[in-house]
Symmetry: C3
Subunit: 109 residues, 3 copies
């Protein structure tokens, strides 16, 4: 996937679940099964989305649903067909993409 | 805000303050009041900016000002008018944008 | 570096080393010596790359090699010449760039 590719970012809540699993974990396994090139998950410390409810690590009662950020990288031909299903899996989340230029992907040349 | 939109990223120091509040917290409240679609804050573990001073979680005396990263998402029409004010609020920070394509924003269709 | 610039993102494992140092630390020092405008390092909590091995903070034995994310910002003229060397330093990593618009970089006007 060197050259032109796509970064898809997915933002969701840590407490969201899907098929008896944390949603972000389910998504990572699912993307790996689909053969997507690379996925990285980070945890934010604060944030709000479309519902305008602020989740923050500063308040205990609001800290159980901190933002999780997934960065998904592959060529558009592999990512685009998955976007509708990803969107349906994250009912409250944010999903967007940006174009990237890949210079290195492990041992791939 | 589905379709073409803008991701604005703001990098600042955890210890920076504004109107008696941590600057990053002030910015999140301020952006929410302005009706901006979504904001996520993450904490870095190391970094340097224009002043070339390395802040790192590895050295206690330099770990009180770790980099904070704000990711701000909305259409350009809503973000662009706020950029001058944001830049004036982060005197030592980094502010940049990139174009994105939004596929999902909570219940918004 | 106000105006058109470049964000280079590098993903590597926390346990990777280079010249007797953690690779991510080596890279930050090296980029600072090269005069690159700004670098921020974050730690992910889970992810996989080209080798399709999932590293996760949820499993102790796989949590010693969590993903590290470097965000490197400067004009293309300063970043592009360094990309081949960066790629050779991260044999297992992911390296990609995206175009950005910089509005603020510390005291630089």
């Amino acid at each position: 996937m060197l050259g032109k590719a796509k970064l898809l970012k997915v933002y969701l809540g840590e407490s969201e679940r899907y098929k008896h699993k944390p949603l972000y974990q389910y998504l990572v396994y699912w993307l790996k099964e689909k053969g997507i090139g690379g996925v990285t998950v980070s945890r934010g410390i604060e944030g709000y989305g479309q519902d305008k409810v602020l989740r923050t690590a500063r308040l205990l009662e609001l800290s159980s649903d901190l933002p999780m950020i997934l960065e998904i990288v592959d060529v558009a031909e592999k990512i685009d067909p998955l976007i509708p299903e990803i969107c349906s899996m994250v009912p409250k989340g944010l999903v967007f993409s940006t174009d990237i230029q890949v210079y290195k992907h492990g041992k791939e040349q």
